[in-house]
């Protein structure tokens, strides 16, 4: 279990999500693929946090502080914020899908072209 393997798994998850976003026609399926992409990014962030050395712990000239230890948590903080924003984004996106469905009686992504041209 090395950082490279973790990044491959994260990249695979992101790529599968990208394929879904591009290839799916149903808006809800596109949102599901978007969630896969979020998770790919988060696996990479947590993997970096787990396997790489924070600069603050390598430079020991001024002594080690609790803040330096917390810098090993940067990926975790990234994940906390991304998960929160993704949850808000999903709720808002599904509200938009409902509004769109009520207006157009459709959830096909190609039907959302009223503002085209």
């Amino acid at each position: 279990m090395t950082l490279e393997i973790v990044l491959v798994v994260a990249g695979a998850l992101f790529s599968i999500g990208l394929f879904g976003v591009l290839a799916r026609r149903n808006i809800i399926a596109v949102i599901m693929s978007l969630e896969l992409m979020f998770n790919g990014v988060l696996v990479a962030a947590i993997g970096f946090s787990r396997f790489t050395a924070p600069a603050a712990l390598m430079d020991t000239s001024g002594g080690i502080t609790e803040a330096a230890v917390r810098s090993a948590l940067t990926g975790h903080m990234f994940a906390v914020f991304v998960i929160s924003i993704a949850a808000a984004e999903t709720a808002l996106a599904l509200a938009l899908v409902f509004a769109f469905y009520r207006a157009q009686q459709s959830v096909e992504i190609t039907d959302a072209s009223a503002m085209k041209n």
Binding site: L22, A23, G63, I64, H76, V80, F81
Partner: protein, 212 residues
């Protein structure tokens, strides 16, 4: 001292099992024609990702993943799928699926190329006794430097030790949120309120509201 999971063979095996669950479920999500089955596969994929977080000593993020993604977002999407009954050709892929597949494969190839051609630092390169003790949680506060507490190893014979993953990450997340990340944290609260109100505003039925 190390956490429940370190880089032993059991952790590696668990990581590969969780990764396989995640990737296979993700492939089902993007190819399954029945959207209800796709939602179930999505929840399975989220569970696999949560397992990966637990293996990486990220217990707090793993629990949040289970609560928010498996518990809330999957249910929200399942509700949307069942509420919008128009599923006649829900699972069809668009005509540019080949281009999409090529884009995905190219992206994965570039990620693999970069991952294996970069010199990453390793947490095991941390050799300072106090830093290793900080990661392992076997330290005591020995003074202050500016606004921060200086720490030192409890038992001074950790010389020559090698760093491992941060143990007990959960107890560090709270202090980090209210010290280093206080501004983003408060902004996040504002964003959640705005998203809540925005979702309600977007979904409200104007005719029914005006008639009432």
């Amino acid at each position: 001292m190390s956490g429940a999971f370190d880089s032993g063979p059991i952790a590696t095996l668990a990581f590969f099992l969780a990764s396989a669950l995640t990737i296979v479920s993700a492939i089902i999500v993007v190819t399954q024609r029945d959207l209800v089955r796709a939602v179930v596969a999505l929840a399975m994929s989220f569970v696999g990702v949560a397992a990966i977080y637990f293996i990486f000593n990220a217990e707090f993020i793993g629990v949040v993943q289970l609560l928010v993604y498996v518990g809330a977002i999957s249910i929200l999407i399942a509700f949307a799928v069942m509420f919008i009954g128009d599923l006649a050709n829900a699972g069809t892929l668009s005509q540019n699926r080949m281009i999409s597949a090529v884009a995905g494969v190219l992206l994965l190839a570039s990620v693999i190329f970069v991952a294996y051609n970069t010199e990453w630092t390793s947490i095991e390169e941390v050799t300072d006794a106090d830093a290793v003790a900080g990661l392992a949680g076997t330290y005591e506060v020995s003074g202050t430097s500016g606004e921060n507490n200086l720490i030192s190893a409890v038992d001074g014979d950790a010389e020559g030790a090698r760093g491992g993953a941060l143990v007990d990450s959960s107890s560090h997340i709270g202090p980090a949120l209210i010290s280093d990340f206080i501004l983003p944290f408060e902004t996040l609260g504002l964003l959640l309120i705005a998203a809540l109100l925005g979702a309600l505003l977007v979904i409200r039925n104007r005719q029914e509201d005006d008639a009432a």
